[in-house]
Subunit: 391 residues, 2 copies
């Protein structure tokens, strides 16, 4: 036996590349302030303030009453996979075989499957900066290299075919986009998406499209990228439009050639998604549930239409009208040299919590704040009043 | 832009090292037979046949009625972390700080956190063969090297300090054991565990102890490895003893030095464990729930005491009395040269489904079958009758 000198904790090198969410520090401080009796307006929270609607709640309660507490198949309840396929048909006019739809523990599980099946150490994945930070951390988890491509307002803060052409090299195997995007709320419209898919295909790679904010759009409704090709990986979730964050339920639409690999991974990496969540989600597509969700969408729309001009009036620059999700990514450089510091100050002095740009990448991150309109109109109005006082 | 020749699917090299569960093929065939009207006795299933007891079901229903549908903190509900700490104190007389207890989506999530935080590419982890196959696949996921150490009946099919001394080298950073073990049902008693921990410590590594079958023992109750050291990673789950498989809820007890890394990983890799599951699990430790679970344990005990001598009478060799979990790992070499083939034959000819040794490793895998006593006494007796007829 070789004796290795005691070295305390052996921490994997990847951990240096995996950042915490800086907003958690702010959230911790916000709770301290609230415990002291201070009021805080929360505009940092990345989940709907609406609880899951009653039809899904009741379906969950029925599943419990019927003792649906054992594992489901690894790829998910067949009837849920079929329900999702029907939803694509009815709402988007797109045919997807249920066998290509894999139920996952949140979109997180979907991302893990897609990347683990595809990415070898050193393989490169192109991602937009700013973007949802977990994406690049999943790439790092499997020892791939996340290539953060700075994207500008002129590109709607989205990865474009021209970026792909510029950054693709022999080690690049995939590009990932989100539409609507977190943190910018911007969309990739059909033409841009088609060009992007074509550029990735020319490189011999795969496009991964994150549609977890699908349904939360405030202009013409987007189609799904599934209408474009059956060669791409499509990630979706019950968390946002369906208001089911805590249920931890998402799905992955898998290109045929990867199905066997994805099934092996699901069996090994998480066994199956939560059972009660899957039964409950069967009620997510019913007309009465969709009607409730459309009411929430209308409310998000009202909030965006209120908050966007108010922020602009205060002096924030929002160069692209966010057409989806529930975020406004606002340039705050008129107020401060560095947005993380500004977010701390807004919390302390104004009692307003927002997320600093640093949580979404490095490209001009210090000039941006993300405002989430996941709180009531009344709270948004109070938040605006407080910001006006502090800035 | 470099044009890469079209290469169809780019499948990561790791996928060649991640095997499917072979028993799934048998399970698929069993369902076909059942659809044709044939009766199948299921002795292949790795989860309790008992549904989750009423106190937990009712707590889940209450959580839904109270609309507990948003995310919890990434490390889990503080009150659940505290409840687990109290359980360790009350049942095992061990003090564990709640802050070191991290709630995870199943034991799968716990294993992912521990390995992602610790394992660099090429780092080696020692594991017993036979053992639970997902463990080595998680090591492969993060590009570590799982070193499968053949373990013999003389060692209770468990990794021992002598194995660690023999196989440790400069690239080895951890050893992982399970007590009770899947597939063998054998235990690691306190002395063996202490020696093992000491050997791993001498190598400068960490011991990972999987106690997911804790509570399901049929002799003197085991203590927890947490009583031994606060330097090891401890994995546990609500799935087995608590009969909560489908809720996807487990926990990881983390050495202090890794807490910050584990929190970053939890935030990024799964956000939080399912919310309703966490609220429901608060009822898992109540006296009325434990009383029900102890009844289930007594039933498993009766089943083991019935099935073990019956299998031996049929000519299976079971060299170590399994003292825990709900498995008997039986040498079937008297009946067939290869156990996967035998398991196929038993299904077709006798209508009995069991798991072939190949699902648990390579070491003498072709000589073993795993029998799970996760079905009624009546079914077990019928299974034994059918086996007697077929062998």
């Amino acid at each position: 036996m070789i004796r290795v000198p005691e070295r305390g904790a052996h921490i994997a090198r990847r951990m240096a590349g995996i950042q915490p969410f800086h907003v958690m520090e702010l959230l911790g401080r916000a709770r301290e302030l609230e415990a002291q009796g201070r009021s805080v307006i929360h505009m940092e929270i990345g989940e709907p303030d609406f609880a899951t609607p009653a039809p899904v709640i009741e379906a969950g309660q029925r599943a419990l009453a019927e003792r649906r507490t054992h594992y489901t198949p690894s790829l998910g309840l067949p009837e849920l996979r079929e329900a999702i396929a029907r939803f694509y048909g009815a709402r988007y006019g797109v045919t997807v075989e249920p066998r290509r739809i894999v139920i996952t523990p949140g979109a997180s599980g979907a991302l893990l499957l897609a990347l683990a099946a595809m990415i070898d150490p050193g393989d490169r994945v192109l991602l937009a900066d700013p973007g949802y930070p977990c994406n690049r951390h999943f790439v790092r988890l499997v020892e791939g290299e996340a290539v953060s491509v700075p994207v500008a307002a002129a590109d709607d803060f989205q990865l474009r075919a021209s970026h792909v052409e510029q950054h693709w090299d022999a080690r690049t195997v995939a590009a990932m986009v989100a539409t609507p995007s977190n943190p910018t709320g911007t969309l990739l419209h059909a033409d841009a998406l088609r060009a992007l898919h074509e550029a990735v295909r020319k490189g011999g790679g795969r496009l991964i499209v994150d549609e977890i904010y699908q349904g939360l759009t405030y202009g013409p409704e987007l189609m799904t990228a599934l209408g474009l090709s059956d060669e791409l990986f499509l990630i979706n979730s019950f968390s946002k439009y369906f208001c089911m964050t805590g249920w931890r339920l998402g799905w992955l639409v898998v290109p045929e050639e990867y199905l066997r690999e994805v099934e092996k991974l699901a069996q090994n990496l998480y066994i199956a998604a939560p059972t009660v969540s899957q039964y409950a989600a069967l009620a997510a597509f019913t007309p009465e549930n969709i009607a409730l969700l459309e009411g929430y969408r209308a409310e998000f729309h009202r909030r965006r239409d209120y908050l966007l001009p108010e922020l602009q009036r205060l002096g924030f620059k929002v160069p692209v009208v966010p057409e989806g999700a529930f975020y406004i990514y606002a340039d705050c450089s008129a107020f401060a040299a560095e947005s993380f510091e500004l977010s701390r100050r807004l919390l302390e002095e104004a009692g307003v919590a927002v997320t600093p740009g640093i949580d979404f990448g490095e490209h001009r991150a210090g000039s941006y704040l993300r405002f989430a309109y996941t709180t009531s109109m009344e709270n948004l109005a109070e938040g605006v009043r407080r910001l006006a006082g502090a800035l």
